[in-house]
Amino acid sequence: MNLLQFLSGRLAKGVLTLLAIAVLNFFLIRAAPGDPAQVLAGEAGAADAVLLEQLRERFGLNEPLLTQLWIYLKGYMTLDLGFSYRQQQPVLALVLDRLPATLLLTGAAFLISLVLGTAMGALAARRAGKWSDSLITALALIFYATPLFWVALMSQIVFALKLGIVPNVGYETIGANYTGLARALDIGRHLVLPALTLGLFFTALYARMMRASMLEVAGADFVKTARAKGVSPPRVWRRHVARNAILPVVTLAGLQAGQLVGGAVLTETVFAWPGIGRLMFDALVQRDYSVLLGVFFVSSAMVVGFNILTDLIYRIADPRIEAGA
């Protein structure tokens, strides 16, 4: 099988997967109680049958379910993610509007966790059994086990309220109208707490994985051989152990990268970060079907896309995969 056949096969499977996800999402959302018209009318505190009927008509909820499904799928085939009547905007515009903030947050958290996690894991493995290993392992366990919202709130109280060194919520200083570098720095200050909070969980994952992987590789025959040949210990760790041990971490990073666009519901909510996670959460509690389906679709498309990319990279990196592809 050549590369083109491999790629087209993967893409076809990807499209079918997306179609299945889209249909499943459609029915899952409608299985939940309430609908967008009922929620909107209910929030007004003065709904009546006429208003409900007007809203249902506007939202297209009076159409038979299969007609609604067909309209939805037809739109998606032309990359039209629909229209949010609640927010009076096309779904694609809403998603694209939130995308930069989400990518900034999840991207920063991704980098922090990858760099910090692998470094911590490598250090712990290098000093296995010593106090620094115990400290890193304990820290990783704490990062992994502590609820995100609690870390988020405590960090706000300590660093924003008590120490006053960073802002507690938001994407930038509202009303300051900074531009250029000043704006970038301002956004950076706002990014510190949410990115660290979100990054801690993955830092723990990477650290634990890197440590375990390095200790496993450290006992492998080729490492013993390298040592027997007289290669210096730092070089053994760096060139032979770390390089081989990082492969599972790369796999995990690939999975995490696929979720970057999905946003981080909890972190974005507690830090008032205007990203896709909040858009999705708000749409969920408001039963804003079109927005919810749109966010789900974009997120799942990213996961499918990254999976295809990972497959492709593996295939190029490891010729053995070709036979089984």
């Binding site: 009318a41 505190g45 709904a47 507690n168 509202i174 205007p274």
Partner: protein, 529 residues
């Protein structure tokens, strides 16, 4: 009341209005000091409004922001007395059937077009008649015609005297809509819904979804010298604890009612340069209760059982502990802040022995019951827990059912509950905000804010119907007193609390709350030192 008294009252109202208008149409209490001008205020709004076109959406957050963009004919003081707004004066005919509103001169929409009587007629007779769930029933049942007399005069003729009419012109209930933008269009699809055009003191500059709504001063505002503030940023911060920290760190200046957890209120109010007021909710007078689903029959349909439940609830505990002292115990369906309230009704104090006695006498056999909790946060969950314990103490087998907001809306709308928490605004007059929960004609599916317990009492129906059209306030009071007595005896719902939602703000912001709807139209008069 005789027609002579009616005439005198009408004349007095008109004279008052004219007199107030002559004072420069700023009759609501404002500071005597020279007004400061300029300044920016950061305010919390939560959750994010779905839209700002107030004619099409009356959600709480929408009203909070859009009430400073749109205006109505009248505003209301804390005693719910009408005050001039876009109407500088008004007259009520001696037979109380004709309302004539004189409009302010020189009022412009935010796009520069003049505001005239045509806009008023369009708004009240066409736009709201079609889309507004509060105005529609009023106009269809009570109004004979709405007509333009001249460019600055509008006349509303009623089919019969309708006392609540003068209370219906609050900005969320009857905002003025620009005819030149909406007439002849599909209202809900009009692109202008994203760029609201009102006559109000502030204009929409930018809405950064998920982050903030930026309003700026309307330089052409008709009330000279107002507004004093240059701009308002309504910040969207979803988490209550984060909102409290944002206030403490100075990121926001005003925490609107209900935007922080109740146990944070007193602490935040005691911070330096921090002030608090419970005023500004008189028009809404939020009233909380447990709706009893009488339609389900069994013990719930038994009056003695419901009375037993009422005696079983430690309402003081709910107020003092769960709500941290915010609010007041209600005596019946009408809030003490609303017109025609009467305390002359059967009273229920916490008495477990009496509760047990009544529940036993009702023939209750331990049938399991569920309380549908209101999914509005921790405090409501705790309230459900405490009442569950109260009921258990009185021998009632009860459990708590939880769901999310759409789930609650659907269950409450469709009568799919035994007992459910609910709270509603009273909207200034029992005919508008109270009767809807008890009259048999409002037992409808799809609306969680009607008579969802399916209580039917022809006497109550008649009392509410007669009171709405009674010729004068004394006659209305008599009828409403009677209906409060009947309902307090029957207990179709178990009233729990007259709720309070304090506004917490920096003390250097003055005149923030000057009307019965508080910050919803308060920034017109606010200044910042």
């Amino acid at each position: 009341m005789t027609s002579t008294i009616r005439r005198r009252l009408a004349r007095t109202t008109a004279i008052c209005a004219l007199g107030l208008a002559a004072l420069g149409f700023a009759p609501l209490s404002v500071s005597a000091q020279a007004p400061k001008t300029g300044g920016t205020v950061h305010v919390v709004v939560q959750p994010e409004p779905p839209m700002l076109m107030q004619g099409l959406n009356q959600n709480g957050p929408t009203n909070m922001v859009a009430g400073n963009i749109y205006e109505s004919l009248l505003r209301y003081d804390e005693k719910l007395q009408p005050q001039p707004s876009l109407a500088k004066s008004w007259e009520i005919s001696p037979d109380a059937k004709v309302y004539t509103f004189k409009l302010q001169e020189g009022v412009k929409w935010h796009d520069g077009k003049p505001f005239t009587a045509d806009d008023v007629v369009f708004s009240l007779d066409k736009f709201h008649r079609e889309v507004h769930p509060r105005w529609r029933p009023v106009v269809s049942a009570q109004v004979e015609k709405i007509e333009k007399v001249d460019d600055l005069t509008v006349r509303i003729t009623l089919k019969q005297p309708f006392g609540p009419m003068i209370t219906t012109q609050e900005v969320a209930s009857a905002p003025m809509i620009p005819k030149h933008i909406y007439d002849g269009t599909d209202y809900r699809a009009n692109p202008a819904n994203n760029t609201p055009i009102g006559t109000g003191p502030f204009k929409l500059k930018e809405w950064k979804k998920g982050a903030y709504i930026h309003l700026v001063k309307n330089e052409d505002y008709w009330a000279k010298g107002k507004p004093a503030l240059d701009e308002i940023y309504w910040q969207i911060i979803p988490d209550a604890a984060a909102r409290a920290v944002a206030y403490e760190t100075g990121k926001v200046d005003v925490l609107t009612g209900g935007s922080v957890d109740v146990y944070d209120v007193q602490r935040l109010a005691k911070l330096p340069n921090s002030c608090m007021t419970t005023k500004g909710w008189e028009m809404f007078a939020p009233h909380a209760w447990l709706t009893v689903n009488i339609a389900k029959g069994g013990p719930l349909a038994n009056k003695q059982f419901r009375q037993g439940l009422m005696y079983a609830i430690d309402r003081e505990f709910g107020k003092d502990v769960v709500w941290d002292g915010l609010g007041k115990l209600p005596t019946g369906p009408i809030s003490s802040k609303t017109k025609f309230y009467s305390a002359d009704v059967p009273k229920y104090t916490y008495d477990v022995a009496k509760a047990k006695e009544l529940i036993k006498a009702s023939g209750y056999k331990g049938e399991p019951l569920k309380i549908l909790a209101l999914p509005y946060g921790e405090v409501w969950s705790r309230w459900a827990e405490s009442i569950k314990q109260n009921f258990a103490d009185a021998g009632v087998n009860v459990s708590i059912e939880t769901t999310d907001v759409p789930g609650w809306t659907q269950k409450a709308s469709n009568g799919d509950f035994d007992l459910t928490f609910n709270f509603l605004y009273q909207l200034g007059d029992p005919a508008i905000g109270v009767a809807r929960n008890y009259i048999s004609t409002n037992i409808v599916k799809g609306n969680p804010f009607g008579n969802q317990g399916a209580y039917v009492n022809p006497e109550v129906d008649k009392l509410f119907a007669d009171a709405a059209v009674a010729p004068n306030d004394a006659a209305r009071q008599e009828l409403y007193t009677k209906v409060q007595q009947v309902l307090a005896e029957d207990l179709p719902v178990l009233w729990l609390l007259e709720m309070e939602f304090p506004t917490i703000y920096r003390c250097n912001i003055k005149n923030l709350v000057t009307t019965a709807i508080g910050v919803n139209d308060g920034f017109r008069d606010a200044t910042k030192d």
